[in-house]
Amino acid sequence: MTTVQRPTGGHGGAPARPVVEVRGVSKRYGSIHALRDVDMAICPGEVVGLVGDNGAGKSTLVNIIAGALAPTSGEILVDGERVGFKSPTDARDAGIETVYQDLALAPDLSVWQNLFLGRELTVRGPLGWIGWLDRRAMAQQSVTDLERTRIRISSVSSRVGRLSGGQRQAVAVGRAAAWGSKVILMDEPTAALGVEQQQKVGELIKTVASHGLPVLLISHNLPQVYDVCDRILVLFHGRLIADLRPEETDMDGIVGWITGAAMLSGGSTR
């Protein structure tokens, strides 16, 4: 993990070099413009919120960054280098991890198995050639990974199906934080959680970002976005219309951008 200072908020600090940049990205389905010429950048340690009404293009944008969709035009840069993802696996290999709304965990597998699924460690030597798992190494590594994100799971050998909703969320985020080296994309991570657990996931997101790994948070939960994010991007009919800082606006202000009302009244922060 690189050592970076977290953006301190406000416009005063020197801008850090972006890890992920979106340049002029458009996505068209026939005559429908899902995204129009979107530019954005995510810097190390930032928590960036992505909000907008249903159909504003949030999922399309996230899926493009995650490699699940190809843009019609425009480009994605990781560490300043242009990338052309053909699949989510490509994006993952480039250090971009996604936490899906449904978490994508296997309930019958243990915590460590879920953390390493698809990237299993095998022992050295002939047994390794037939895929003999190095269970101890994976369990140990899981403990370390989860500790770093301050996630408390009684045992990494627990079946994920036995965990509470918040714990499962933590495992999914912990997995992304363990493998992600550039950015974590989170799609509605707290949609299924209670208030208290939402708050804890919010803290978890801050913890992850404080280690230098930025988070792009897509959420309808405006209080959480307002509370957790360093910047809030607003999509409106496929256009990125605002880049707000929580200390410069309030909830009503954000809602105004989401509904387009703020645009009509002429305000712009970009």
Binding site: D108, Q140, S142, R152, S155, G166
Partner: protein, 352 residues
């Protein structure tokens, strides 16, 4: 293993500050107990059966009864080993009994023809056995490809191949059995070790159970097999090539059916076109009694071995106790339902 061994406590991650909701388990004590004992409760059932039938029919404790029971179990155990992999992926292989019959007939037909054209018995055995395994693998490949490429439910696909393969088996030799087999194959059925206590087919079946058991519980392939059955989308998103994996799983089931076909042929010194018929039901029953979930994600080879043992002991035990043979099937059916009912109670806690 190269990694240093950590103290057991280190595997429990406890971080004092910023901890996330620990989620107190509100699971009743009984259910937690049942979940903890896992597949071992079936071992208890097997023990009870052995004691109960031993009281009803003391001849159960003779060498003859052991040989009858274990030899009976061989074909079901080998099919159940493959079936365990399939069921753990949340699939089902209804065609494995039919595959047994077809591969046995195909390999035997080839061996008979090779012997008739004066090829040596050793070569005929080698080629014939290879054909049995290849035929099994081929039918598994067809099952796997249709399931993954045409995206049809395993139940329907294997029901279709069950029917088609059964018909094809009769086409091979006009529905008659093949008895002119190389000496290697016929002696395989009677060979034994440990002064007659361990028939070689039983040894092969147990060795396969250990081998494939370790494959399921200790290898990457096994772990991904569970992952696919537990949450296929999660497996795909984790980068697992689910389709290729499933094809391989059905091929494993097919190859094992070929092995079972060989051993059944060896045991009877003949290949019969009706060999293996309905075997899939016993194999599935053994896996389910052993604690596997037909919804996938759960099941162990240990459980499958015990499940097969329960079916075998029930069958021989009822015979030795002079119960009408028709009751065997009634009893096995009841045990299957009972096992699933207990399993439901056992795991209600863990599946949210």
């Amino acid at each position: 293993m190269s990694a240093p061994q950590p103290p057991a406590a280190a595997l429990d991650a406890h971080v004092a500050e910023g901890e996330l909701e620990a989620g107190r388990d509100s699971v009743p004590v009984f259910q937690r107990f049942m979940e903890r004992i896992g597949a071992f409760w079936t071992l208890g059932v097997l023990a009870v059966l052995i004691v109960a039938f031993g009281i009803a029919a003391p001849t159960l404790y003779t060498k003859a009864a052991w040989l009858a029971t274990s030899s009976f179990a061989v074909e079901y155990l080998i099919l159940a080993i493959g079936q365990t992999y399939v069921i753990v992926t949340s699939g089902i292989d209804l065609a494995d009994g039919a595959t047994l019959g077809f591969s046995a007939m195909a390999g035997s037909l080839l061996m008979e023809n090779l012997l008739a054209s004066h090829v040596s018995g050793g070569v005929a055995s080698f080629v014939g056995i290879l054909l049995m395994l290849a035929t099994g693998a081929g039918i598994g490949l067809v099952n796997g490809l249709i399931i993954t490429r045409v995206k049809l439910p395993p139940f329907i696909v294997t029901l279709g191949t069950l029917t088609a393969v059964t018909g094809a088996t009769d086409l091979l030799n006009n529905g008659t059995e093949i008895t002119n087999l190389p000496g290697f194959v016929t002696t395989l059925g009677t060979a034994n070790v440990l002064s007659g206590w361990l028939p070689v087919p039983v040894l092969i079946a147990l060795a396969l159970a250990v081998l494939f058991g370790l494959g399921l519980s200790r290898t990457r392939f096994g772990m991904r097999t569970y992952a696919i059955g537990s949450n296929e989308i999660a497996a795909r998103r984790a980068g697992v090539d689910v389709d290729r994996h499933l094809v391989r799983v059905y091929m494993i089931s097919g190859v094992l059916a070929g092995v079972a076909g060989l051993l059944v042929t060896a045991n009877f010194s003949a290949a019969s076109p009706i060999a293996g018929a309905n075997d899939e039901l016993y194999a599935i029953a053994a896996v389910v009694i052993g604690g596997a979930s037909i919804f996938g994600g759960r099941g162990t080879m240990f459980g499958t071995v015990i499940g097969t043992g329960i079916i075998a002991v029930l069958t021989t035990g009822l015979v030795l106790a002079n119960v009408q043979p028709f009751w065997q099937q009634v009893a096995i059916g009841a045990v299957v339902i009972g096992a699933v009912a207990v399993d439901r109670v056992r795991t209600r806690a863990g599946t949210d």
